[in-house]
């Protein structure tokens, strides 16, 4: 093997290396520019649209957190402060009292407080709530629907793909901008709707 062919081999190798470097750099740059055009300087978080939610109960089971990062929240502005509360009492409750047998919530996470005759305030204890949506179904069917589920961002891990969004039968869970991280019923007005449009959803197939 002569020196000349060896040098030629080295030159060829260097040429291939430089060429491949350039190719890789250009393709990486292409991907970078194409995705940068569609990037968003802020952060996205997951949230439940309470008007799409069908209260199926999967939020309690499918979240990677145990207990779930989904909790029931109370939009007080919509509450009727009913004595006969569809979210608090079982449908066939013996009496309207705080006795455990009458409560719909499996973990007794709703606190019922007398305000004035005949009104009661209902407050969620998030330490106890598991996000099963039983009270939401009751309140939505029989009352004003002021109880509804939300992902609580002090608990949510903000997984890259939300485990409950994947199994939500109503596609109610979407990415929303992190500076408007909640969709609370009542103050979920035009601004909230606009915020929703800017986001995307994994299982939206259109």
């Amino acid at each position: 093997m002569s020196d000349k062919t060896e040098r030629k081999g080295m030159e060829r190798r260097r040429f291939i290396k430089r060429g491949m470097q350039a190719t890789l750099a250009v393709s990486l740059g292409g991907v970078a520019v194409a995705s940068f055009m569609k990037s968003y300087a802020g952060e996205m978080v997951w949230q439940i649209d309470p008007f799409k939610c069908v209260q199926c109960g999967r939020c309690a089971d499918e979240c990677v957190m145990m207990p779930s990062a989904v909790k029931c929240v109370h939009a007080y502005a919509l509450c009727g402060y009913c004595d006969l509360c569809g979210g608090y009492l079982k449908p066939n409750a013996n009496e309207r009292s705080t006795a455990a047998e009458n409560q719909l919530c499996p973990t007794a996470a709703i606190k019922r407080k007398f305000i004035e005759d005949p009104y009661f305030e209902y407050e969620i204890d998030e330490e106890l709530c598991i996000g099963c949506a039983k009270c939401v179904a009751g309140c939505t069917s029989f009352g004003n629907g002021s109880l509804h589920l939300q992902i609580r961002h002090d608990r949510c891990k903000n997984c890259n793909e939300c485990a409950i969004a994947r199994v939500c039968p109503a596609d109610a869970i979407t990415r929303v901008p992190a500076n408007q991280p909640y969709l609370i019923k009542g103050d979920f007005t035009a601004a909230g709707d606009k915020a929703k449009k800017d986001t995307s959803r994994m299982s939206d197939n259109n």
Binding site: L24, L28, S35, L78, P169, A178
Partner: protein, 421 residues
Amino acid sequence: MKNKFLKYSLLIAGWFGSIHGLFAQAQQRFPKPEFESGYSQPQTTTPFPRALWLEYFDVFVLLAVLSLVSWFALKKRSRKGVFWSSVFSVLYFGFYREGCICSVGSIQNVTLALFDPTYAIPLSALLFFLIPLVFTLFFGRTFCAGACPLGAIQDLVALRPIELSRWVQKVFGLVPYLYLGLAVLYSATKSDFIICRYDPFVGFFRLDAQFIMLVLGVLFLAAGIFVARPYCRFFCPYGVLLGWMSRFSAKHLTITPKECVQCKLCAHSCPFGAIDEPVAEPAHRRKSVKHLMLVVALLPVWAILGGWAGSMVHVPLSRLNPTVSLAELIVKHPEVKEDQNNIDVRTFMSSGKTTDQLVAEASEIQRRFYRGSWLVGGFLGLAIGFSLTNLSIFRKRDDFEPNKANCLSCARCLDFCPVKK
């Protein structure tokens, strides 16, 4: 006729339903009471998510760790430095950030951004995807060595590594190509993020996971005692991209600072089988060149064969998509429409969509899967073809050198090299 009537009555019922919904929103069933006791209504609390500047701080930490590891591996030649960087990465990106955000998973965010017009990728996620690749193009896979928490946690348990035969490494080394292809297919069709879903180590980082994922994680770590870094070498889809960058990187860690004395100590020290031994000039150069020409000519055949094989399995592949699986269930078993216990079917039935609409949607998704699986199969075929090509390239090598594509720049061999300065 009857059918038409039913359709209309459903339509009208739906219309009334929506009016009713609007009504309930605008005017409540039970009006808000006017309190006389001076009761003030509490506010619904809305605890905010993690601050945005912290997301960019993570990017900064990634940059800092990558620079440090590259300096330790290439310049300082210190295994200790690389080791402590990986400990830091396990603590910070692993246990503190709980495995999210990570460069491996960011492949899917980038794919989704390219394919879904409604998805805006957070800039921090894009940077997590790009920065390690750029670093690798300059310095080799220093990201794997000390900045990736998934790699680092496996590196820490690689206590009794055994040597795997070349063909085992070659064959199982093709799995990451398949995994990458599938991950891109599933995120491009907006079906799933499989890399994140089947991340075996995130359960440890969060100290909480589904039982099956925890078992998987334990198995990976247990296997990792003997087969060093099994996930990195035989599964990691990001490793494929890093391998491409690293193969042609401008600089790379060198085993010896001066001249190799052929002592073989480094080859024994590498737990990943990533050090190439010296090769003499092949005896029959002409014959091997002919052989090489043949495997190169076969590359398109591999691609077409792979694409065809991929397209054959596009139907089972598409079943992971929830719309497709729901449509298939309803078409095959129409009786489930009455099943109140099936949450997906129940929700679909009350959504007002017709089965035809659902089937049309599902078959459109399946068409996308058909095209996608041709591409993924072709990609896998090419990967097989190229790895055969690599087997037929004989390059004269005088010294022990790191295999640039597979070397994870962990710097173990540097400690074993007797040549110092």
